[in-house]
Amino acid sequence: MRPVPAGAAVATAALLLAACGSAADATGTGGSSPDGGTEAGGQTVRLWLNGEDTPQEMVDYAVAEFEAAHPGVTVEFERQQWTGLVEKLTTSLSSNDSPDVVELGNTQAQAFEAAGALHDLTDKKEELGGDDLLTSLVEAGTYDDRFYGVPYYAGARVVFYRTDHFEEAGLEVPTTLEEFQAAGAALKQANADVPGYSGIFFPGKYWYAALPFVWESGGEIAVQDGDTWDAQLSSPGSVEGLRQVQQIMATASGAPVDGDESQDYLAFCNGEVGMLMGPGWKIGQIVNEDDGCPELEGSIGAFPLPGSEPGTTAPAFLGGSNLAVSAGSEDPELAYELVKVLTSDGYQEQFAELGLLPAKVSLLEGVGGSEAAEAQAAAAANSRFVPSSERWAGVEASTVLPDMLVAIAGGADVEAEAARADEAIEALLNG
């Protein structure tokens, strides 16, 4: 249900680090009015952002910008948790005490757009950036040709690796998917003395990481045919990709077949991992001082997941967030003004420094400075997204994809499992 960087719920530590300068005043609900005296009779705009993906100093910046431009208006800021967000939005957006501006995970947005929970911003699209906005986030924000969800930030997965393990095993950075798989298997063999070592850490439930293999070999999750969805996981291309995943899990991974990726940085820090696939901010989580391993900082490299031909990248799953104005907002025009601040260049550029991608193509050039950031920008340039349906949230909630992968990781027949998943996905997407 959570989008990729959103999956960051666990990665809060990493981002808190980045925000360390002002962490002391990050009290969580910083409803603030800097000049203090303007509250009498003033209007308020309620802003909800999720997790720690947006650090407090960025919120403070946006609040200050907005309140300077709109004297007498106070921004009431509340931080929500990614876990349980859909439930919370379902009840709060339909109540008469709805927040004005909310952040939605890009895989969650369409359900609320279809339900009529969000304010139509179609005529504001050009003003917000138009074609400069990241296409796949615009797709997530569009339902029935109407534009509701404004791209907020994005993230794509890249491969992080132990440079020292590569050196010891005499390996080079792989340039094709085949080399990637071979490098993983070679690492696992070279480190056979480490119990549970993974050349490529690939736990069974990690479906975000399995999608690039499906896409690269020409497969898809589902395609739309008129009004109905046709699930494609059992198509020849998808099956080929899933077989590759199964092989990696069997030959290169030592991760739990039914586990997920949330604790992967701990295994990485224990020296049990050669490569792992993770969003750009994962590096921050790995080297966090609380339960990570800052001492490894110098021996971690990053590259985008390669494609089947040298010099190409495999399509990455693009995660991210959209901002929306609630349909129940008392003053949608004012709420929109706040959205404008949150998507302004000055604000968006700060995301790049955090290892997230700004929501505008023109700002992607500003992403750089680190290997991880550059790898992410390269991966995002060739990125794909889940089927664009308001019922997709149901597919995630029913755990069809992780269940299929857990079975595949356990050695089950790929074609049979894919056919079974297709049936479930079609039932869910077609209602």
């Binding site: 339909s94 009529g116 030592g254 077949v257 039914d258 308001e390 909630a397 029913s398 869910l428």
Partner: protein
């Protein structure tokens, strides 16, 4: 101890004997003003109705309408009759989930009752200090929030760093490094059952221990003099005294374990395959909240309520019958 012998038949008569004496004044009050008792019942009925009946009515109403996210945001909810029920009854997954839940409930209730009774007997037999120690241990297990308890057990059974795998490997029982207890549906459900029983035993043990202190020592002594061994004394003296308690505890455990949610949901997040390990409580949640099919989820919940009532009715009736005897 010649005194103890007549007590045995005597214990049966005072209990049924007492109520008739008390009932008489009640009857005369009724003849005085027939409306008064009902009037006095009214406040409690209103409170119970608002707190219990109304949500249930809402649930039933929801289950016969089309109600998804769009309806939550104001679109009219069409009446669809029993369509939602037809949908779940047609779904083979629902039947699999239901069968799994009934089996899970049966096994965990049996284990909880047996272990709870054994712990209660242990407490009864222990000296003061040790009993206090056992009591504190039970209290701590009972006071632990279900989510925390499940997460601790999940760590114990963790694939990579779990205590169980470590101990099994160290004790030479085989190579359990990297063994996933949650990957196989059967061992997944076994771990979930362990958590549920672990959380359920303290309440049963405390209640039965309180019941045990009420079993007259004279009767047990008399039975012992008559030559009854420990098992015979337990079966023929202790259990009859505890029967109403046992019935209520079993009914309550059935209620709780049938709709168990937290352990299964938390363990599914940690490992295993949700498809093969859903119990009906989690299943209803995934449909309502995850898929936003509040209508179908409500239908599952109604079926759950009916089944729970049916399961517990058996015990409650049995209990009522025993009081008549």
């Amino acid at each position: 101890m010649p005194v103890s012998t007549p007590v045995v038949p005597g214990t049966a008569s005072p209990v049924p004997g007492a109520p008739p004496g008390r009932r008489r004044p009640a009857r005369s009050a009724r003849s005085g003003g027939p409306a008064l008792p009902y009037l006095l019942l009214l406040p409690a009925t209103v409170v119970l109705g608002a707190m219990l009946a109304w949500p249930l009515v809402r649930l039933v109403l929801l289950s016969v309408r089309e109600f998804g996210l769009a309806q939550q945001f104001g679109q009219p909810a069409a009446f669809v009759g029993l369509d939602n029920y037809a949908r779940i009854l047609d779904d083979p997954q629902f039947w699999a989930v239901l069968g799994r839940t009934v089996a899970f409930c049966g096994v965990t209730v049996a284990l909880t009752m047996v272990l709870g009774t054994l712990v209660a007997l242990l407490m009864d037999a222990l000296g003061r200090g040790l009993r206090l120690l056992v009591g504190i241990g039970l209290m701590l297990a009972w006071a632990m929030p279900p989510v925390s308890a499940t997460i601790v057990w999940q760590w114990v059974f963790d694939t990579r760093y779990g205590l169980v795998n470590y101990l099994l490997t160290a004790s030479g029982a085989g190579d359990f490094r990297g063994h996933s207890w949650l990957a196989d549906p059967v061992s997944f459900v076994a771990v979930a059952a362990l958590v549920v029983v672990w959380m359920g035993v303290p309440f049963v043990a405390f209640t039965l221990y309180a019941g045990l202190t009420q079993v007259p020592r004279e009767v047990l002594e008399a039975a012992q003099i008559d030559g009854a061994g420990p098992w015979r004394r337990f079966r023929s003296v202790t259990v009859p005294y505890l029967r109403p308690l046992l019935a209520i505890l079993t009914a309550l455990s059935v209620l709780w374990n049938f709709r168990v949610f937290t352990p299964v949901y938390v363990l599914q997040a940690a490992g295993g395959s949700a498809r093969d390990t859903n119990l009906v409580g989690v299943f209803a949640y995934r449909i309502s909240i995850g898929e936003n099919r509040f209508d179908v989820g409500a239908a599952v919940a109604v079926v759950m309520v009916v089944l729970t009532l049916a399961l517990t009715a058996v015990y409650l009736r049995q209990m009522a019958r025993q009081e008549d005897v």
